[in-house]
């Protein structure tokens, strides 16, 4: 666009002011990007949920155990493809203050077929099946503790005792990767048969919760109702819901994160808006004479309005893009809370939202100054030059 040169020159007029305004805008968008990343880290698990999976837990609370015998009963319910279980082991590695991560005893082949987002090589799967005390760990966990295949890893659990002892020792036989970038690989899985035999009285023959794969994702809700009906009036009643709802439930337990993040960003953008709008107004006021000249030469009111808007938008968009880019780079650097946030990247959808907001910012901050410029009466403006 041929007018771009004029806009660019105007911004260069008071370099310091332009740079400072630009820097404020950049900081606002870095903040936006980081908050979007943090919000995604806290509640993003919802999107990863398998659309054809439902979760079955004890109706009273998640910490109550369900009989293992439920598995066979569920497999007979129409609409169900597969059923697997897992149990919260609740242990820690070396020091309770170390990274908090999930450990669960599972049935290897079944579990990995259900959770196809975990990728384990056939050799490692074979090794797992032939090692009773074998365990597989996720890439994130292995990297954090620097575990390798072949390591012996002691996990201390106070929920479950083995031979009167709190310390369970596992052999790392494999490291699984996540299929998507966002898959959380911060867990340790070991064999259920080993667990069942070794654990003492408490909870024998019982498991934590079940995950079911349904034939038809659209009918997931119906299948859930069937499962709960099957176990209604049993000693252990169930609550079944699609995996997405289950994950969302957890996110919601943290609180209304989305609202808090949106409020903070609202306050920040409002402040930036004020500062930028003020700068733009000043810039236009200083140039009243020049704008008069342009009108004298023959620029229409509308063209003058566009010129001013172009200036504010250019500033906002450049600042926005740089800020978002920086946020993206920072997010690549990983979780600053050292492991408490399993996901840490800048969701592309929020990146796009950021760009849209920067355009809006440009338009809003330029609006009133542009209207002022448009309404300038040429003769008055020239007199003020």
């Amino acid at each position: 666009m041929k007018y771009l040169y004029l806009t660019w020159s105007n911004l260069r007029r008071k370099k310091l002011r332009t740079i400072l305004t630009l820097l404020s805008i950049i900081v606002a968008f870095v903040l936006f990007g980081l908050l979007a990343t943090i919000k995604h880290a806290l509640v993003g698990g919802v999107e990863l949920a398998g659309k054809d999976r439902v979760v079955v837990r004890h109706k009273v609370s998640l910490i109550q155990l369900l009989p293992e015998s439920y598995k066979a009963r569920m497999e007979r319910i129409p609409g169900i493809k597969a059923v697997v279980h897992q149990t919260w082991f609740g242990g820690y590695y070396q020091d309770p203050k170390n990274l908090f991560f999930m450990q669960c005893p599972v049935v290897p082949d079944e579990y990995m077929s259900m959770f196809t987002e975990f990728v384990l090589s056939p050799e490692e799967m074979k090794a797992w099946n032939s090692t009773r005390t074998g365990a597989v760990v996720g890439r994130r966990l292995a990297d954090h503790f620097k575990w390798k295949v072949g390591d012996k890893v002691p996990i201390i659990s106070s929920l479950w005792k083995i031979n009167g002892n709190d310390t369970w020792e596992f052999d790392i036989v494999g490291i699984f990767e996540g299929k998507e970038k966002q898959t959380d690989t911060g867990a340790l899985f070991f064999r259920y048969d080993f667990f069942e035999e070794a654990r003492q009285e408490y909870g024998k023959g019982q498991v934590g919760w079940y995950t079911i794969r349904v034939d038809d994702p659209a009918k997931a809700g119906d299948v859930a109702k069937l499962v709960d009906a099957e176990f209604a009036n049993s000693p252990a009643e169930t609550t079944t819901e699609p995996e997405g709802a289950f994950a969302q439930g957890f996110a919601k337990q943290i609180g209304n994160i989305a609202l808090i993040v949106a409020s903070i960003m609202g306050a920040v953008f409002f402040t930036i808006l004020l500062v930028s709008a003020n700068t733009m107004s000043q810039a236009v006021r200083e140039r009243t004479g020049e704008l008069g000249v342009l009108k004298a030469i023959g620029f229409t009111n509308r063209q003058v309005l566009v010129l001013v808007l172009l200036e504010s938008c250019l500033l906002a968009i450049v600042g926005g893009v740089i800020g978002l880019g920086l946020a993206w780079l920072i997010a690549l650097g990983g979780d600053p809370t050292k492991g408490n946030l399993p996901l840490f990247f800048f969701p592309p959808r929020d990146l796009a939202l950021g760009v849209v907001i920067s355009v809006l910012l440009g338009v809003i901050t330029g609006f009133f100054p542009a209207m002022q410029a448009m309404r300038l009466r040429v003769a008055d403006a020239l007199r003020r030059m």
């Binding site: 009273v60 910490i63 408490y202 903070i264």
Partner: protein, 399 residues
């Protein structure tokens, strides 16, 4: 020749002229003040979340109380003690006594699914089963409505925090636990401690409902004095029949909150730092604008004989004052909007909800004002230097 009084009067004059020109510059001035107010309000607001959470943890514990868990347990939730274990524990020395016996309560700590009001979705609400000494062990507990539950009955008392955050816990309402209905017979207050988030009932009744046999998860005791702790701990750890962990209650709650407070505070300070940087740029912008609007005026004053130093000081003074006005405004907004805002979140360590209120503490308000002052200082410094160094003749020509 100019003495300090003369210099001071120069500063006052230059500042005075600056104040007089504020109406002309009111757009920039307002932008600066509101910008800084915004930064301070957000900083204080975000940090008040961590402060509020920490306060709950601090209010929960008294120095003469102790807790006993299984040796490797990281929280009550994952601990397990048998009836024999608890008997051995209550026999230990150092425990205070009253007419009914030792002030020790073997307790069960589970969660129950209840709807959270703010998000309309289910939440893990802590449900605690206590023994008769349980009320006496905690000295800051008061029943504020209704009565205590009767032993052996399906009755519960509800903490004020839980009442506020979760639905269906009003006096007289029934709560479904498994196959039974339990009645809310009383509301209690624990003075802001974590018990405010909990529901309490008879441990025996809870054991039956959750099929825990005769097992417990912790023992809470009141010691004869804070100093008795060591004796109590030694006795238990020396006992070969017990594999337990003995903590002062204060230590326990401090541990329980580390994950959340670390998370909230690190995020809070990251956000706040970024905002502060943005605010500095904004303040610099405003001050440069202010100063450039007054270029001819300042050059004229200097031509008349006002010194450089007076100019610098007066500009920085104006910047700091504006920043303080903004900072105070922001702190006030933060206080009125955030202080006491009641909410709850899940503590991953105990896997249960903790209700708390945002706490805008004096320390946070001070931090906010300090930040504002810093921004004012930095924002005023460079523009002040520039104004003072501009050659007078150049300044006089400026439109």
């Amino acid at each position: 020749m100019a003495g300090p009084i003369n210099w001071l009067s120069q500063v006052v004059s230059v500042t005075g002229f600056g104040v007089l020109s504020i109406p002309q510059r009111r757009g920039s001035v307002a932008a600066a003040v509101i910008g800084i107010a915004g930064v301070v309000a957000v900083l204080v607001g975000v940090l008040s979340i961590g402060a509020g959470f920490k306060r709950v943890m601090e209010m929960s514990a008294s120095p003469d109380s102790a807790m006993v868990l299984r040796a490797s347990a990281t929280s009550e939730m994952v601990s397990g003690l048998s009836r024999e274990d608890t008997k051995l524990i209550t026999d230990a020395p150092g425990i205070a006594r009253n007419a009914e016996g030792p002030l020790a309560s073997a307790e069960l700590f589970v969660i129950i699914d209840l709807p959270k009001r703010s998000t309309n979705s289910s939440a893990n609400v802590p449900l605690r089963g206590i023994e008769p000494a349980g009320f006496a062990v905690r000295d800051n507990l008061k029943i504020v409505e209704g009565r205590k539950f009767e032993w052996g009955k399906n009755e519960i008392v509800v903490g004020v925090g839980a009442l506020q955050e979760f639905a269906g816990l009003e006096l007289g309402k029934t709560v479904r636990v498994g196959r039974n209905d339990w009645t809310v017979v009383g509301i209690f207050s624990a003075g802001g401690g974590s018990a405010d988030s909990e529901l309490w009932t008879d441990a025996k009744v809870l054991q039956a409902a959750y099929k825990r046999g005769d097992s417990f998860q912790s023992v809470s005791v009141r010691l004869t004095s804070p100093q008795a702790f060591q004796e109590f701990k030694n006795a238990l750890t020396a006992n070969p029949k017990l594999k337990v962990k003995v903590l002062r209650q204060t230590e326990y709650y401090a541990e329980q909150s580390t994950m959340i407070t670390t998370l909230v505070n690190s995020l809070g300070y990251i956000i706040a730092s970024l905002m502060a940087i943005g605010a500095v740029f904004g303040a610099l912008n405003t001050m440069y604008n202010s100063v450039s609007a007054r270029t001819r005026e300042i050059a004229t004053l200097r031509a008349l004989g006002f010194g450089r130093g007076a100019v610098i000081v007066s500009i920085m003074f104006e910047s700091i004052v504006l920043a303080l006005v903004g900072g105070t405004l922001g702190a006030a907004v933060a206080y009125f909007v955030f202080n006491g805002f009641h909410t709850s979140t899940i503590n991953m360590q105990s896997f249960s909800q903790v209700t708390f209120a945002f706490a805008v503490t004096v320390s946070l308000l001070v931090q906010g004002i300090v930040l504002a002052t810093f921004i004012g200082l930095v924002g005023g410094f460079l523009p002040a230097i520039r104004a003072a160094r501009l050659p007078i003749a150049v300044g006089l020509r400026e439109m």
